[in-house]
Symmetry: C2
Amino acid sequence: MISSRTMLFGVAGDPVSHSLSPILQNYFFKLFGVDGVYLAFHVMPAELPAALLGARAMGLSGLNITIPHKNSAARLSECRSREVDLLGVANTLAIRAGKVHAFTTDHIGFVNSLGSEKERFAGSNVLLFGAGGSARSIAFALSGLGVANLTIANRSHERAADLESFCRTSLHMTAVTAMTFEHPGLWAAIAGSSILINATASGMFPHSDEAPISSFDMISKSHFVYDLVYNPRNTRLMAEAKKRGAAVQGGLEMLVHQGLAALNIWLYADYQLQETELNKLKTLLLRELR
Amino acid sequence: MISSRTMLFGVAGDPVSHSLSPILQNYFFKLFGVDGVYLAFHVMPAELPAALLGARAMGLSGLNITIPHKNSAARLSECRSREVDLLGVANTLAIRAGKVHAFTTDHIGFVNSLGSEKERFAGSNVLLFGAGGSARSIAFALSGLGVANLTIANRSHERAADLESFCRTSLHMTAVTAMTFEHPGLWAAIAGSSILINATASGMFPHSDEAPISSFDMISKSHFVYDLVYNPRNTRLMAEAKKRGAAVQGGLEMLVHQGLAALNIWLYADYQLQETELNKLKTLLLRELR
């Protein structure tokens, strides 16, 4: 029951009305016996500084930050984790002793969502679709997983080259290549990689018939295809890859695990999710998706 | 279930951890099917402006304001009800189209808590103990109930005289007298009044053995004694008055009714509370009191 001791958490974004985080975190609160509630806050870009000062003044316990505030939240916070400094984005703010501390949990969510597939990464060749904020977090995670070669494919070459340079300079990765989706070397890159990761929005509802690549013929049963998109649960890329015998994974587990990582940051906790609870939660979240 | 559409309300105060408002309003939300949660926000005096700007930036739907913020909240709000302008205090803020609107509901809570006892007030002589913020709101309510004579008794004569002057100048009451609790005329005032109202904190937990007056001998079965204190439920003043055959009422109904008035302001609603629901709610609230 809510009382005057109940902690308040929330997600700040614009738009925010379709965020799954309230469902996710309130499920965690119930599961782990946390006396908290988690709400969605529709915050306009110009209002983010006021929202953060207000969150502090009202004694909120923590916030998730989503589009378009991830960069500003990092900048406006008084303390930043090493990862936030490195990636320039924050998706999790903890309010500790009146100070806003910024964290990012995408890379933790990605790694923790892999389960036994994690073993595939060390020494592997990985092809990453996309060069935006999500792709950057994935590249950071990949550098920690010890991949051998990383190829970045993106619509704009400039952003791909930016991410390549970030990987070399900041992540100390040496074997990194950037190309556009039009580059003829893309097909060889698919064939030569054992792991394909989609960090673009291509294939996301309502454009469920789209995919980051125009042909799936180079995908075989030796591939592991990871799509960060979670709506729909089975993207076109996943369906085509599965048809060709590849192992596939959608973005829902990552969503769950980055949320769990945020909760663990807020509460200095180490909550873990059992398989049965994860499946219950996924069912609950899928019910919310259109 | 909490979702991204759930509205957020709360009470801002310092201290706030013993506020009954979260229990009260979340009970209302469930009873009336309101998709909202109501929390307690511990806001320091210096942080109230940031909290109000933040509440607006985060899209909170409404706030209650308690000690020590009632005057500042009135001042900081962009729109004020007639009663807030008159009384200089706000205990209810509604956030409408990005603007903070200030209201006060103490007088509504008092009047609506009276039930059939309301009939006693027109043309009656009333003795009011206290001259602070609560007493001022009660005086305002009494002016609307058409009392004939109002006597204000207070520890400090200066504040009593201030409230007397407010009653004359702003409430256009003509028959108003101010005195201290030491004034020898107090006993005649008790005997000559049919209604006694305690708007001081005297008798409140943990000082449950105290009362605003030192002798109860002038109280008889013709009196109606109303104590705004709700913790303990039966104050010493109420117990002594009851012993002498007087009708008595404690502050819990007023608490409930001022909260209901706030809810109706926030939602442009006209929710009413049935007797059985009121009793269930009172049981719930009493369980929270020490």
